[in-house]
């Protein structure tokens, strides 16, 4: 009997080639998309679960709650927190450890390269587990002239992992030191938020001139991890975090607006397992780009939707086709088949098709997994030896097969043989027709929703990256690392030579450049007001040429002037305790209002007190107010800012140019190499930086577009199959209509209208859902598309869906409409 079923199944597949093709390809594409998304999601969910102590490793985050401002969240902690936290939570915490990544210059032999190296505390070796190839992590981290490197680093620099005792020279700030390799460990897996290649020990004495790095409470630069003792709940730590801060940080209640640290500071712990999917910091504040639970949910939803569309095709075509097999069912019944046997036969057939679909789908996955992995920046692979993967695949097939086969199986097996055999006409029930309609509506609603979502995501990215940031961002090249030893004393020479390059229009040595990620703040107090009235205002440091080069609009007053020696910010080093320095300051419009001035013009000539460091301050005259600009990030709301003039230190050289960037870049590099061959050359373009901030949205919009396209293609394949089936079923009706005088056009219109109705209904369902979803999505951006844009997008998506449906159905309808009616009527 099984042989007979199999034979019938295969003959049916071959006889109905079109339907088999649509079914199998549709299902294969759906399954392939599902499998790839499942691999992606599984990878995202696996982040940092592999540490031996994963359940007890947490990271301490800091929030500054400054009155009148949005809270500033940071995933970093202040350097002193390491000791203070362990001391306060001695009963609950096993160990604390800081990790601080520096971009260093590493020299080995005659090559000098930029490398990110992590400064850390010895406890890191206890909290995280390392797969040590040679040496000992403990030894490496207990000695300030030792370095622990990972396999890739060792192989890159020494050509072998047997690198113990090898030496590299590392430069950061004032440190230029030979580090001896004391440990080599296996590269970290990709599924961790830690991006580590080499560790050296923190010695706070190395940073006496950079006390903000590890010693100051209000400067958060380090990732601070800690290990919780068994049985301690993280809530009990978070609950006591305010008390911890008030114990650790002593505030002079008379000095400022706050009486205790917890009035404006907050720390909270996050499990290392949650960092990847619930990132709490700003864009770019983790060691490498994180994912997000939203993306995971979006992709799971897409996978489910695509699979649903493929399943719907499957059910639709199977149901439609099944009514043509009524005679076979009737005969089997007459010959004694039980209903159960028939149900088993039909479900079996659909599982068989699903299996073939799976085979094709797996082939597709193998074909596409590498490009997909490259695109999302992961290395995913289908592992056939993995039980979970196999179970997932077979589970999908069983589900799709059973779901697709169930309805036709139940309907068909319920046919009454006598009626079927006698009636000699299609035994379709109105139930299966309306089910099919509902399924087509679902498919198109999904497709329309995906089209709208794709265009909104794309539009938002376009909007955000093309929005006027308040300064000129085109044709600006930024050369970084001017403060490295070797280049520090040649900055002016570099600038002068660069200005000679044809095509270079302007240069600026402003230390802060747009979108460089600096988020510093400084307190300002209006003259005559008490310290309690202080306002924390964003701080960017510029030079004389900055505003001219970046084409920033002046609203009132004037820009900094080289001819006036009094212009600028006094240096902390030059100040003495208690003495008040003087200087000049430029604010943006938002800052002038924040300071309480009635207008930009009203602020000119007014004076504000500004902190320079502990017990040192300066009285600054406001000489100019500029238009608000998006100095930091298009992802963040515009903030009140001051632009301090400093000429004592430079980090970057901004170059405004015209024409082709590449030849200019080559000449700049040649100049750099001539001046400081031992310092690596590094650069960026301002407009690229701004676009990079939206890389995730860009990636999402491309993926969404691909998957929306897939969904539509699969839905159309289904519609095509269904349309040809329906046309076949309506042959007699079409024949009659033609005899009655209907033209080919009349018939095509009739059939197209039949399939337009479900698409129109699909629009009505999709529009409110997708509008709601996209409006919520847009709300996460401070600068976003007007929500009303979704209305025309919905209409356009609806029209696209309709056109696609027409194109799909039209050709088939025309063919049917042209057929000679007498055949339809005679052999009825």
């Amino acid at each position: 009997m099984f042989h007979n079923y199999l034979q019938v199944a295969f003959r049916n597949l071959v006889a109905n080639r079109l339907y088999s093709f649509i079914n199998i390809i549709g299902l294969a594409v759906g399954l392939a998309a599902c499998v790839m998304i499942a691999l992606f999601v599984r990878d995202e969910l696996s982040y940092d679960k592999h540490w031996d102590k994963a359940d007890s490793i947490y990271r301490l985050h800091t929030t500054f709650n400054i009155p009148g401002r949005e809270p500033m969240h940071s995933v970093h902690a202040a350097g002193p927190a390491k000791h203070a936290f362990l001391e306060y939570f001695e009963q609950d915490v096993v160990a604390t450890s800081r990790i601080r990544t520096f971009s260093t210059v590493v020299k080995h032999g005659d090559q000098a390269l930029f490398e990110s190296i992590q400064w850390t505390d010895p406890e890191t070796a206890d909290i995280f587990n390392f797969d040590v190839i040679a040496g000992s992590m403990k030894d490496a981290l207990d000695d300030k002239s030792s370095i622990a490197v990972d396999r890739s680093f060792a192989e890159r620099y020494f050509g072998t992992t047997e690198a113990l005792g090898e030496v590299v020279n590392v430069n950061i700030y004032d440190i230029t030191r030979d580090y001896k390799v004391a440990a080599v460990f296996e590269d970290f897996p990709e599924n961790t938020v830690l991006d580590i290649q080499a560790f050296v020990a923190i010695d706070e004495a190395d940073f006496v001139n950079q006390r903000w790095e590890f010693e100051q409470w209000y400067s958060t630069n380090v990732y601070m991890f800690f290990e919780l003792k068994p049985g301690i709940s993280i809530d009990s730590i978070n609950d006591r975090s305010a008390a911890f801060l008030d114990t650790a940080i002593q505030i002079d209640p008379d000095a400022g607006a706050f009486t205790k640290a917890s009035d404006f500071l907050e720390v909270r712990a996050q499990s290392i397992k949650d960092i990847q999917l619930f990132p709490q910091g700003r864009n770019g504040s983790e060691m490498k780009p994180t994912g997000s639970m939203t993306s995971v949910i979006i992709f799971v939803a897409i996978a489910v939707l695509i699979l649903l569309i493929a399943c719907i095709n499957f059910m639709n075509l199977a149901t439609a086709k099944s009514t043509q097999r009524a005679r076979e069912v009737a005969l089997r019944k007459v010959l004694g088949a039980h209903r159960g046997q028939l149900v088993a036969q039909f479900i079996g057939e659909s599982v068989l098709v699903a299996l073939i679909g799976l085979a094709v789908g797996v082939a597709l996955v193998e074909l596409l997994i590498n490009p997909f992995s490259d695109f999302i920046g992961k290395s995913l692979a289908l592992d056939y030896s993995d039980g979970a993967t196999i179970a997932l695949l077979l589970g999908l097939v069983a589900f799709v097969g059973a779901a697709g086969g169930a309805y036709p199986a139940l309907v068909l097996s319920g046919f009454l043989p006598a009626r079927v055999l006698k009636a000699n006409k299609s035994a379709e029930t109105s139930g299966s027709a309306s089910l099919r309609n509902a399924l087509v509506i679902t498919q198109f609603a999904i497709s329309i929703g995906l089209i709208v979502a794709t265009s909104v995501v794309y539009g938002q990215r376009l909007y955000a990256t093309s929005k006027d940031p308040g300064f000129s961002k085109e044709n600006i090249l930024v050369i970084t690392n001017l403060s490295r030893s070797g280049m520090r004393d040649k900055q002016e020479a570099l600038r002068q030579q660069v200005e000679q390059i044809p095509g270079v229009l302007k240069t600026s040595l402003a230390p802060d450049t747009p979108a460089n990620g600096n988020t510093g703040n400084t307190n300002l107090i209006r003259e005559g007001e008490s310290d309690k009235e202080s306002m924390l205002i964003g701080r960017q440091v510029v030079d004389h040429d900055f505003f001219d080069l970046y084409d920033v609009e002046l609203l009132a007053g004037r820009f900094y002037d080289r001819a006036r020696e009094t212009d600028g910010t006094p240096l902390e080093e030059n100040a003495t305790d208690g003495e008040q320095q003087v200087g000049t300051l430029i604010l943006n419009e938002a800052a002038s209002y924040r300071m309480g001035f009635a207008s930009p013009t009203a602020a000119i000539g007014e004076r504000v007190r500004m902190g320079l460091g502990p017990n040192r301050e300066a009285m600054m005259e406001i000489i100019g107010v500029v238009r608000d600009m998006q100095f930091q990030s298009m992802r963040e709301p515009m903030r009140p800012e001051m632009y301090q003039l400093r000429t004592d230190f430079y980090l970057d050289l901004s170059i405004k140019f015209e024409g082709d960037a590449q030849p200019i870049l080559r000449e700049v590099e040649a100049i750099w190499r001539g001046l400081a061959p031992e310092v690596p050359f590094d650069y960026g373009f301002i407009d690229d930086r701004i676009e990079e901030e939206f890389a995730r949205e860009e990636q999402q919009s491309v993926l969404l577009a691909v998957f929306a396209g897939l969904a539509i293609v699969i839905a159309c394949m289904g519609l095509y199959g269904l349309a040809s089936f329906t046309a076949e079923r309506r042959t007699k009706e079409i024949g009659i209509r033609k005899v009655m005088g209907a033209s080919v056009f009349d018939i095509v219109r009739l059939l197209i209208w039949q399939f337009s109705k479900p698409v129109l209904v699909a629009n009505l369902i999709a529009w409110p859902l997708v509008a709601y979803g996209m409006v919520s999505w847009l709300e996460s951006f401070p600068y976003r598309l007007d929500s009303w844009i979704i209305v025309p997008l919905c209409v356009v998506a609806g029209l696209i869906a309709l056109m696609i449906a027409w194109a799909t159905v039209g050709g088939n309808a025309a063919r049917v409409a042209r057929a000679n009616p007498i055949k339809a009527l005679r052999y009825e």
């Binding site: 024949g735 033609k738 005899v739 009655m740 005088g741 009349d746 000679n820």
Partner: protein, 227 residues
């Protein structure tokens, strides 16, 4: 009304050539009632389809109302057909999804007739064939005789000059069959030309002339004295 001159129809497949009609010459006057008889496969239906412009001849002339339509493109034939010819089939060929009323209206739907005029004419013709009380019913709710009456109504609602009936009584019992024949006779009396294919000599007797076909040839033509 129409004139067939040396009309032939040949069906070809890859292997076989079947001659369905072989040099047929027939002339039918306006207002005639003609029965076409002959054994299965003699070409009756093919002839009827060609006359009804649902099929085209392989060679020969077909002059319809003074116009040689042989070789006309489909759209042109379709226009002539819908103006002048009504059809009645053995298996009724009503659309299952439409009501009686809508099925009859179908014949006017493609004629650019305003909806209110259409409804009027449908109502009138339903009265005429005695099916008005079933106007809102579906074909599946009707008996065979009633279904064929709907088909007749559909054939005449457009005031067609000629009705082609392909074994109109083939699926009906004798009482219902007679009913339909009487209806056709009445229509003929009002001036409609009727061409009917039938197997039943009794029903052929309703016609004024009988054409006998055999293997694609016209073998005899019997003219009956006016009834």
């Amino acid at each position: 009304m129409l004139k067939l001159h040396n009309l032939s129809k040949v069906y070809r497949t890859d292997e076989v050539e079947t001659v369905a009609l072989d040099n047929v010459n027939i002339e039918i006057e306006s207002g005639e009632f003609v029965a076409i008889m002959g054994p299965s496969g003699c070409g009756k239906s093919t002839l009827l389809n060609i006359v009804g412009m649902l099929d085209s001849s392989s060679s020969g002339d077909y002059v319809f109302m003074g116009e040689n339509v042989a070789g006309y493109p489909e759209s042109k034939l379709s226009n002539i057909r819908k103006q002048n010819i009504g059809f009645i089939f053995q298996s009724f060929n009503l659309i299952d999804e439409l009501t009686v009323e809508e099925n009859i209206e179908l014949a006017l739907l493609y004629h650019n007739i305003p909806a209110n005029v259409r409804r009027e004419r449908v109502a009138k013709v339903m009265d005429k064939v005695g099916i008005a009380h079933r106007a809102k019913h579906m074909p599946s709710q009707l008996s065979g005789g009633q279904q064929q009456r709907v088909a007749v109504a559909r054939a005449v609602v457009g005031d067609q000059a000629m009705i082609l009936a392909d074994e109109p009584t083939g699926n009906l019992d004798s009482a219902h069959g007679q009913e339909v024949m009487e209806m056709l006779q009445a229509l003929n009396a009002e001036g409609t030309t009727i061409v009917m294919v039938t197997h039943s000599p009794a029903h052929a007797d309703y016609a004024r002339r009988t054409i006998n076909l055999f293997d694609g040839h016209v073998v005899t033509e019997n003219l009956r004295a006016a009834v």
